[in-house]
């Protein structure tokens, strides 16, 4: 075909610019550059950092203070009726590593605080599959959506001048969020476990289990301790030694294995699967599917938990997310935190330093 250039190229050049420009604009919209208010993993990580009051380089933006744990999960086979996940295969023994932590962005904060006690787990299944969990000692969460969580963090962010959160902002948030008021009342009244070893740890969110027959059920789950529950004295929390819970667990782990039973709780008809602020209450079928035995504990610098993200949406076959919007928010925010601390490179954490790990 012989070239046949147009005599007046300007209108056609404008058309080409319009086509290319439209695609670029669409990309900018999708990437969120035209929507600065869009809630993303990065915007939640920003809110976490602001709420903490400073950035601790190389440290998780949430649940900053932690220690590493390891052991195994022994399935009793009862879980196969619920999920085809290989974790539940009869007599399967699955290696587990993980992390105990306290909520908050400051890795040097004292242990005597009314905050989440958390257990994160990473099950290494056959065939490079993994199941990761991020569990808390409460059965419920403070808000039900990522946007509300970000707003809650912002409402509790210290003022740059007074270094204290503005009570009016938090009051305004709570006035329009009864579920957050309920949670705060719950945290005030519920006992805090005296040890990481005697706490019950909840999945917080609902998930879906699918068994080999293709039947799908909504579930939550919890790890129930064999160690007897005891509560911290909330009236003397501020007098608790700075690293009391961490020191206690490191000592407890040396005395012998620590065990929990994984109890799957089946949803009843009408249970909300999309709202982590609502407890499912009494009268649910509960199935003990196996035993978690933790045999090792070490500060983060010696362990193998620091450089992993405990994303609750890293799931094996047989387990899928529920319609709970919080799951996507947790996944996105943890990913943003992981990107940031990877870029900063790992830094020494106070528990390791205190335990003499940073030699």
């Amino acid at each position: 075909m012989p070239p046949d250039p147009v005599a007046h190229p300007l209108p056609r050049l404008a058309l080409i610019a319009a086509i290319v420009g439209t695609i670029a604009l669409l990309f900018a919209w999708v990437a969120g550059w035209l929507s600065p208010a869009r809630v993303s993993g990065a915007s939640i990580a920003d809110a976490l950092q602001a709420n903490t009051g400073k950035i601790f380089p190389g440290i998780r933006r949430a649940h900053a203070k932690g220690l590493c744990i390891a052991g195994e999960f022994a399935s009793n086979g009862a879980g196969t009726a619920l999920s085809r996940a290989t974790l539940f295969a009869p007599n399967a023994r699955t290696p587990v590593s993980g992390r105990f932590s306290l909520a908050g962005g400051n890795p040097g904060a004292p242990d005597g605080r009314t905050v989440f006690h958390a257990m994160a787990l990473r099950f290494v299944l056959p065939g490079v599959e993994e199941w990761r969990m991020a569990l808390d000692h409460t059965p419920i969460f403070v808000v039900s959506t990522p946007a509300d969580f970000q707003a809650f963090l912002i409402a509790g962010t210290p003022d740059p001048v007074t270094k204290k959160p503005d009570p009016a902002r938090m009051a305004a948030f709570l006035a329009s969020h009864p579920e957050a008021r309920r949670f705060i009342a719950y945290m005030k009244s519920a006992p805090l476990p005296s040890s990481f070893a005697n706490g019950t740890y909840h999945s917080i969110n609902a998930f879906r289990f699918t068994n080999a027959a293709g039947e799908t059920r909504a579930v939550r789950w919890q790890f129930e301790p064999e160690d007897r529950f005891a509560a911290l004295d909330k009236t003397t929390l501020d007098r608790l030694p700075h690293d009391a819970l961490f020191d206690e667990y490191l000592a407890r782990a040396k005395q012998g294995p620590v065990r929990w039973h994984l109890v799957v709780v089946l949803a009843n008809p009408g249970d909300a699967t999309d709202n982590a602020t609502v407890e499912w209450g009494a009268g649910h079928r509960r199935i003990d599917v196996g035993t978690l035995t933790l045999t090792a504990a070490m500060p983060e610098q010696e362990g193998h938990c620091r450089d992993f993200v405990f994303d609750p949406l890293i799931l094996p076959r047989g387990v899928t997310a529920s319609d709970d919007p919080l799951l996507a928010g947790r996944s996105a925010a943890y990913a943003a935190s992981f990107r940031r601390r990877a870029r900063e490179a790992p830094h020494a954490d106070p528990v390791s330093t205190h335990q003499g790990a940073a030699k």
Partner: protein
Amino acid sequence: MNSTDRFAVHARILHWVMAIMILAMLFIGAGMVSTASRAYPDLLAWHRPIGIAVLALALVRLGVRMTHRPPSLPADLPVLQRAMASAMHLALYTLMLAMPLIGWAMLSAAGTPVVLWPGTVLPPILAHDVRMFGWLRRLHRLAGYAFFLLILGHLGAALVHALIRRDSVFQSMARFGNRSMRG
């Protein structure tokens, strides 16, 4: 127009199929990190299998490109434009192979399983190293933006050939069948 004026038919099919997939990947990638809504895990679940499919198709395409001579550019095309076209095509080939590999390597370094679909996980191609993850994650993002800008440049240049120069270049990739589009 005889057959040597056009790319081989499988090269043309690969080009357009991959054009859609790669553009979709860039939009999915930019979109998923922009949100903490339910779209985030959904887009992430699409991003990994499409990325691996792009890698597989890019390898096939590289083979096709090396065994089939592409049609030559018009003789009157200025030397600078020829050089730009070659550089751009080299960069596009490099990125369509490198982007999925960086993504795979990045998740390997993160210690995160590369789940293609439930139950199917790719093995890691790098040792677990959080700093390496940090570097590769940045590279993946920058290379993604570079890829998008190159595609815009490639599209703009193709449209200049089609609408302004009106030479054989656009037709050599876009025309299927035997009848000329410009009667």
